[in-house]
């Protein structure tokens, strides 16, 4: 029997690594993949909490998170293609039109 806190800790580690990828990398593609990592970390917490508490809501919300992740990847990659066509770069620091 594994303690529930082990799953929550693993979920926090995956989420934290995703945060590192989002704040420390410049490549937009890797930043989008790091967001997927963060969503996956949250899913681990949802499934573990649902299964230990005996509540089907955990599985349902993990399912919803997967839907949101798929939608986010589709829109994010479409944005990336549009940006690459415009500026020929995948460097996030080059995209500062709205920055002042």
């Amino acid at each position: 029997m594994i303690a529930p806190s082990a799953y929550l800790l693993l979920s926090a580690i995956l989420f934290g690594i995703g945060v590192v990828g989002v704040v420390a990398r410049k490549n937009v593609l890797i930043i989008l993949m790091s967001v997927e990592l963060m969503l996956n970390g949250v899913n681990v917490a949802f499934v573990a909490a649902g299964s230990y508490l005996g509540d089907p809501a955990g599985g349902v919300f993990a399912f919803m998170v997967m839907t949101v992740a798929a939608a986010e990847a589709a829109v994010g990659l479409a944005l990336l293609i549009a940006l690459y066509r415009l500026k020929e770069t995948v460097d996030i620091t080059d995209l500062k039109v709205l920055k002042w």
Partner: protein, 162 residues
Amino acid sequence: METVLFILFGAIAVCGALMVVTRKHPMVSALYLILTLFAVAALFVLRQAHFLAAVQVIVYAGAVVVLFVFVIILINVPVTRMPVERASTTRVLGVFAAGLFILESAVLARRYSMPIGPAAEVGTVEVVGRALFTDYLLAFEITSVLLLAAVIGAIALAKRKI
């Protein structure tokens, strides 16, 4: 046995995640992302969430990562034009903050334990399907609107002329 499998797949997931954020080329990152997603699917199986494990493999590894790989090949940035990663103060601080978050949750997870309810399956087809079509029907229906919006948005953004 369960503990051994948990440690094994947990270690694979964490190592794969580390490789995703540290590799230079996005294609290598995408392949390590698949490794991590499979390890997380194995962890779902350990928690008896077979349906979610299958959805994880089909939707994530089979659709999302393939989309990533497709875009990486499509825009095909030469290695010489990849962004150069340099350590700046804000980024070091960001990594430090993420490490602090992991440490904090480790301390909290050691101190406070979750109450354990009656043993129940949460991720099988039957349980998830029943919950989705009764208690969470509205959320399920709204999901379809979200997906429609994502489809329209993706086409509108990526198309040259509409």
